[in-house]
Amino acid sequence: MLKTLHQSKGIQLAIGFFLGVIFGFLLQKGGVTQYDIIVGQLLLTDFTVLKIMLSAVVTGMIGIHLLRMAGMVALHPKPGSIGSSLVGGLIFGVGFGILGYCPGTMAGAVGEGSLDVLFGGIPGVLIGTGLFAKFYPVLEKKILNVGYFGEVTFPQLLKVNQWWVIVPTVIGISALLFAIEMSGF
């Protein structure tokens, strides 16, 4: 039944929008559609971003893997490589530090009235993605596959059942969040 749902194009467009509305609502309520809060995280004075992301990861991780065990969802890990994930990630990071938003929070920031995102950030991202598409053939040949490791997950890498990774990760993240709270951040 879920499979039919997944394949209904019209309904999926509506579901995507609806999930987005909730996502945007949550992001705005979390304060992370605001430049000051995101840059505060990057300057390590405000840990709201990390608290939100890590709570989402813990919740998502447990739920998704339980659903997977019940045969109700499939995982979709992205492939990666040093040339793609690390290099691309650092380029993103520099942009992150200058703009002070990421793609998701940019959409939210526009909804909150940020003109710098609407007239500067968004055109910039569109130019950036366009440039990437333009140079993709040569980038793919020269760098994107350097140090390729594919769609591997940590349980697969370590050759263990996923819960041997999930439980310590959840404990570790929870300890980190506790430490952040205790130190007054």
């Binding site: 705005q28 430049y35 990666g80 994930s85 520099v94 942009g95 998701g104 950030g121 950036g128």
Partner: protein, 171 residues
Amino acid sequence: MEWLCMKQWSPYVVGIGIGVLSWFAFLLSDKPIGVSTAFSRTSGMIEKLFRGKITTEKAYYKTFPPTIDWEWMLMVGILAGAFLSAEFSDSFRIAWVPMKWGSTFGDSPALRWIGSLAGGIMIGMGARWAGGCTSGHGISGTLQLAASSWLAAAAFFAGGIITAIFLFQVL
């Protein structure tokens, strides 16, 4: 319904909410939450308006066709949802220069516009280069325990932190 009108919620409530949202994305749509592909498709759609078939023949746009899809609707939904939330809490503010930027770099909208444009270009390039952004890799990928996502997320924040500290404390 007062909680809907609050100006800010606990980050833990928001985070758990996003985590639960990701369950539904997988369940109902068989997709991880992500946002950068929507921008890539939009860029392609705009280019297609001007250059037609040349655009759709590009290798990258064969893999990621410039069309409206689930993720594109998600991006539009985020804008709508944030607007709704801001309206409920009377937080909607038309603004050019964020406070923290202004107090360090001055209130010139032109300077902020240049910075936003430059930063945006790098975000766009970097996200597609890495194959995802802080939503696609940082949340969806890490919760799936994908090595690519943990590496990308670490790079996002390492790059961001070093850049921000450089801009705000060294310059």
